[in-house]
């Protein structure tokens, strides 16, 4: 099964949201958010869509089959 990469930690940090708050919003345990962020667990479609809804972002902005570009690399590319 291919690994699903995600940017949950980035979105959470941007919003100043704790794992517990996100977990409560989507109905899972805070540890599960930790496992998701660490890439140890690929979420169900339902959970993925719930997380995307919390951040009011399309699912493909949060989850991808290929690794996301790092923030530093994106900033460098934007500055060029």
């Amino acid at each position: 099964m291919p690994q699903i990469h995600n940017r949950i930690a980035l979105f959470r940090a941007e919003r100043g949201m704790s794992r517990r708050a996100l977990a409560e919003a989507v109905g899972v345990n805070p540890q599960t958010i930790g496992y998701l962020e660490r890439g140890d667990y690929s979420p169900s479609l339902e959970l993925g869509m719930k997380i995307a809804a919390v951040f009011e972002a399309p699912v493909e902005l949060l989850f991808s089959f290929t690794p996301f570009e790092s923030v530093a690399a994106a900033l460098r590319r934007a500055a060029e």
């Binding site: 899972v28 599960t32 930790g34 979420p43």
Partner: protein, 168 residues
């Protein structure tokens, strides 16, 4: 509700509280990854079973070792990372996946040990010309070992396939 029923249910509630089980169910047990205790329980149980097979005349020593493994094993589902069915805490999709895989390995281990064990006992009984009582004792030891496997293997699997997540 009639007065009689109210008193009856109140007494039933009090009797249930008296057992201490509701208090245990309400208590939020801190679950943790138990990586070495299941190995200890399994080593004691497997060692005890092997001892009983090797020295049938002192199989009670092996039985004692399996009992020790069982005594450790009964605490593993209570304090290990696998959340029970119908427990007081939410078992989300991640917990359910961990539990599903852990019990898959647990039941596979029990099935394999049962088949392997029964043929081993049978073979050694024929080779060693064991008496009926010795064979019954060996089968009892094997059953006991299977219980320990059922208790310890799921916790062992769940504890080694996941890593604890720190609080943020």
């Amino acid at each position: 509700m009639s007065h009689f029923n109210q008193r009856l249910f109140a007494r039933l509630d009090a009797a249930a509280e008296h057992t201490g089980m509701p208090a245990l169910a309400r208590h939020d047990i801190r679950r943790r990854h138990l990586r070495w205790l299941p190995i200890l329980a399994l080593a004691l149980a497997a060692g005890g079973w092997a001892w009983g097979l090797a020295r049938p005349s002192t199989a009670w020593l092996g039985y004692g070792a399996i009992t020790l493994g069982f005594a450790i094993g009964v605490f593993l589902p209570l304090f290990g990372p696998i959340k029970p069915w119908g427990g007081p805490r939410l078992a989300d999709e991640f917990d359910r996946q961990v539990r599903q895989k852990a019990f898959l390995y647990g039941f596979a281990a029990v099935s394999f040990a049962a088949i392997f064990g029964i043929w081993t006992v049978l073979g050694l009984a024929v080779l060693g010309d064991w008496s009926r009582s010795i064979v019954l004792g060996q089968i009892a030891n094997l059953n006991y070992l299977l219980f320990v496997l059922y208790l310890a293997v799921p916790t062992l699997h769940a504890s080694w396939t996941t890593r604890p997540v720190e609080e943020d």
